[in-house]
């Protein structure tokens, strides 16, 4: 029973131009996904500093997902390519540190893909829930 009650804490960074709008569209279409997902708006996925992700895990997040425009469609031309490269490096390092690859993800969601946004979040939450709580990086001193 204990396991079933685990509710993961998911931080989602969404770029203002595609994915945040995609999340809004999911809302407009009333497409459900778990409330465990909390969205932070950034101008571009490339604005997401690896520090933010480390901080989230340190503070007890169980999964972090980045959503940006599809490659080639970045509002700022090339931002999401940097995201892709940076996160590939960061995620493999996190994997090495024991943050399983399933806890981190980069997904391309356009402003028209409300359904994809909801589906992605459902899938991500399901995968993270299956892994259970993140204990590896969590800093207990941060707990209130």
């Amino acid at each position: 029973m204990q396991v079933n009650e685990f509710k993961p804490l998911i931080v989602a960074f969404c770029c203002n131009w595609c994915s945040y709008a995609g999340a809004d569209l999911a809302g407009n279409n009333r497409l459900n996904y778990p409330a465990d997902v909390k969205i932070i708006r950034v101008p571009c996925s490339c604005r997401v500093n690896p520090m933010f992700i480390l901080r989230a895990f340190q503070r007890g997040a169980d999964g972090v997902i980045l959503c940006g425009c599809h490659p080639g469609d970045c509002h700022y031309t090339s931002g999401n390519y940097y995201t892709r490269r940076r996160m590939a490096a960061l995620f493999s390092m996190l994997d090495f540190l024991g943050i399983e690859k399933e806890r981190t993800r980069v997904e391309w969601v356009s402003a028209a893909e409300g359904a994809k946004f909801a589906a992605t979040m459902n899938d991500f939450v399901e995968k993270v829930t299956a892994l259970g709580p993140n204990k590896r990086l969590e800093d207990l001193r941060c707990k209130r």
């Binding site: 909390k38 490339c46 700022y76």
Partner: protein
């Protein structure tokens, strides 16, 4: 410490149906900095906005959090409200508890819980907000068009038509570009000169347009609305304003053996020359590499025959500095060199020519006065082989040629083949093709006519080897449909050479900080939605500099670029986005990481003096962001190893505070 007011919107039942708004406003009351918290049915209504204005005044609020619908919906509304209350509009944060909360969750408890967390994140962020003011910059109401081909001409005419001044910079002695060299144009077969030269005259006569011919751009500084451009006017040794273009000098010039570049070297011109009869400006130019007077001071004949006294052997290059509000790149294309494709024997035989050379051979103003004659012996060719895709669609590992499809070759080859069969029905015409690509209005019909009505022999296959032997060109090719190797004795072989951007494009892109792809084509701000703008604000793209294009496409893009320029020049002032990057000079170590990732070239480096603790002065190289150019993506902030670079409105500590608030 901020004094934050929280305003939770019910949005009728849209939010209140799933979120306990009362509980949210209660919960947020205890957050740091919050001095006032309330909820209301419709925050965006006049009554709701007045409630905010009153609360700001009553509680001396310095920051506002609205828990409502998406910021994409009403952020602008609430910013105006804040401004009306005397606050900086950027002191407002929105917690999206409708689209991203009440509408996607069904359960009141989880909805409320999440809404509180989103509210807390917004409060945490607004606590760190700082007042932001968008910069304003004036707009110089003049445009620069670089390149005077059909793209540049059309752009300039359209901009001038809207009443703005335009300058065209063209590196050749005349405008007209590649189109001036063409004979007929597909798919209507009207003659290129007949439709182009009137436009060239329009340009010359338009009082809003200045032409800097035989000139090039050597330096660009500044940013959108305020470019400072240096134009180098090469010495043409003829006073442009005096020369009447009578051509007496050209006739008398004794140095007549200079390869004529306008006819691609298939005939000769004199050392002083006018490229073609309809040149604009119609003035003579002296080729300093060929002129005896300029090389060794012996001749001076042209000066003697010039009645107007326009010849000036002492003319020097001239540098002109001018201000522009917008720049249009229209640098066009060239066929690639055939040097590395000698299986087609281009270097071994004069009778193997490129398609552009074929245009000149069939042009009435060309080296053969329009008669189709072999370059080697001036005999009429009876068998002509056209080879398509020479240097196009090559894999990068083949180490020669271009990876892209040059787009225009299928159509002009069909045109050449059709015109040849039309004028010389005794000629056998073969076209070797890989695919025939004819996506365009009336294009496929045109190609089919070449086959069905004019009897052009289209062969699916490629030419493998051309062997000049005697007067013939032995063509060895494959016919993949017949599954045969063909051996054709041809008189003329025409290669549809791939096209590439002009060589001046790369240095120009560097000057403009406009980005290019690996093929040196300029990239668009957005491949689908902003196809005529470069990612660098104020720089626009017209014609083949952005990718291979035919004339109708080039003209459409030229018009589109002009309309974008007009839209920009119509403004008196440009209001910037205040959410831009800025660098903390004390922390910056001048490493250039940010400059490298910036897609807009907004970051430059300046040497600044710093007072050191020991009272000495040290000069350090630090990053400096031009707020008028920065678009606020924030890529540089992540690239910065020292944390000096930050983004206003989405600062590191703000996002970190949101993360903390969510993860509590």
């Amino acid at each position: 410490m901020q004094r934050v007011g929280v305003f939770v919107c019910w949005c009728g039942s849209n939010i209140a149906g799933t979120v306990d708004v009362q509980a949210v406003s209660e919960a947020l009351k205890n957050e740091p900095g919050v001095v006032f918290s309330t909820n209301y049915q419709y925050m965006c209504s006049q009554a709701g906005q007045n409630m905010i204005i009153d609360a700001v005044k009553e509680h001396n609020l310095t920051g506002i959090v609205v828990c409502s619908c998406s910021p994409r919906m009403h952020e602008a509304t609430f910013r105006k409200t804040a401004a009306a209350a005397g606050l900086n509009p950027y002191m407002v944060e929105i917690a999206n508890i409708r689209e991203q909360c009440s509408w996607v969750h069904k359960d009141m408890m989880t909805g409320t819980e999440k809404a509180i967390i989103l509210g807390k994140a917004a409060v945490a962020k607004v606590n760190l907000n700082t007042p932001l003011t968008p910069g304003e910059s004036p707009v110089t109401k003049r445009a620069l068009v670089i390149g005077g081909g059909i793209a540049g001409i059309q752009t300039a005419l359209d901009i001038a038509d809207a009443g703005f001044e335009v300058d065209i910079v063209e590196k050749k002695p005349t405008i007209g570009g590649k189109m001036a060299q063409l004979d007929k144009t597909f798919p209507t077969l009207d003659c290129a000169a007949c439709i182009l030269t009137p436009k060239m005259v329009d340009v010359a006569q338009n009082e809003k347009i200045r032409i800097f011919s035989y000139s090039e751009v050597t330096d660009v500084k500044g940013f959108v609305g305020n470019f400072d451009v240096t134009i180098k006017k090469n010495a043409r040794f003829v006073k442009e304003d005096i020369c009447t273009g009578c051509g007496a000098c050209v006739e008398k010039c004794p140095m007549k053996k200079v390869p004529n570049e306008f006819n691609l070297g298939m005939d000769n011109r004199s050392a002083i020359y006018i490229p073609f009869a309809q040149a604009v400006p119609k003035v003579a130019t002296i080729d300093p590499n060929a002129c005896n007077m300029l090389k060794n001071g012996k001749c001076g004949l042209c000066a003697k025959v010039c009645a107007a006294g326009a010849i000036d052997y002492t003319q020097k290059d001239e540098y002109i500095e001018e201000k522009y509000g917008a720049i249009v790149v229209a640098t066009g294309f060239n066929p690639i060199s055939m040097e590395k494709f000698d299986e087609f024997a281009y270097n071994q035989s004069k009778d193997v020519i490129t398609s552009l050379e074929f245009e000149r051979l069939t042009n009435a103003a060309g080296p053969t006065a329009g008669k189709l004659l072999r370059p080697s012996d001036h005999e009429h060719p009876h068998t002509i082989v056209f080879v398509q895709c020479v240097g196009s669609r090559c894999d990068s590992c083949a180490e020669k040629g271009k990876e892209y499809c040059s787009k225009i070759c299928c159509m002009y080859t069909a045109k050449h083949a059709m015109l040849t069969r039309d004028k010389y029905p005794d000629t056998e015409v073969y076209v070797f093709y890989i695919d025939v690509r004819t996506p365009g209005k009336n294009f496929d019909e045109f190609y089919r006519r070449a086959v069905e009505e004019y009897g052009v022999k289209y062969v699916k296959g490629m030419v493998g080897k051309v062997t000049p032997e005697g007067k013939k060109l032995k063509v060895q090719a494959s016919d993949l449909i017949a599954n045969k190797q063909l051996h054709i004795d041809a008189d003329l072989v025409v290669l549809a050479a791939a096209i590439e951007p002009d060589q001046t494009a790369r240095p120009l892109a560097t000057m403009l900080t406009a980005s290019m792809d690996t093929n040196d084509f300029f990239t668009e701000a957005h491949p689908k939605l902003r196809p005529v703008e470069s990612p660098t604000a104020g720089v626009f793209l017209s014609g083949a500099c952005q990718g291979p294009k035919d004339i109708p496409e080039t003209v459409s893009q030229a018009g589109a670029a002009a309309s974008k320029v007009i839209g920009l020049l119509a403004k008196d002032k440009l209001t910037g986005n205040p959410c831009v990057a800025s660098s903390n000079e004390l922390m910056c170590n001048g490493c250039s990481s940010c400059e490298r990732v910036c897609p807009y070239g907004a970051i430059t480096y300046v040497d600044k003096e710093f007072r050191m603790p020991d009272r000495t002065t040290k000069v350090r190289r630090v990053a400096s962001v031009n707020p008028a150019v920065c678009q606020g993506c924030g890529c540089c902030t992540v690239a910065c190893p020292s944390g000096a670079m930050d983004l206003r409105g989405f600062a590191n500590n703000q996002i970190m505070a949101e993360v903390d608030a969510i993860c509590k």
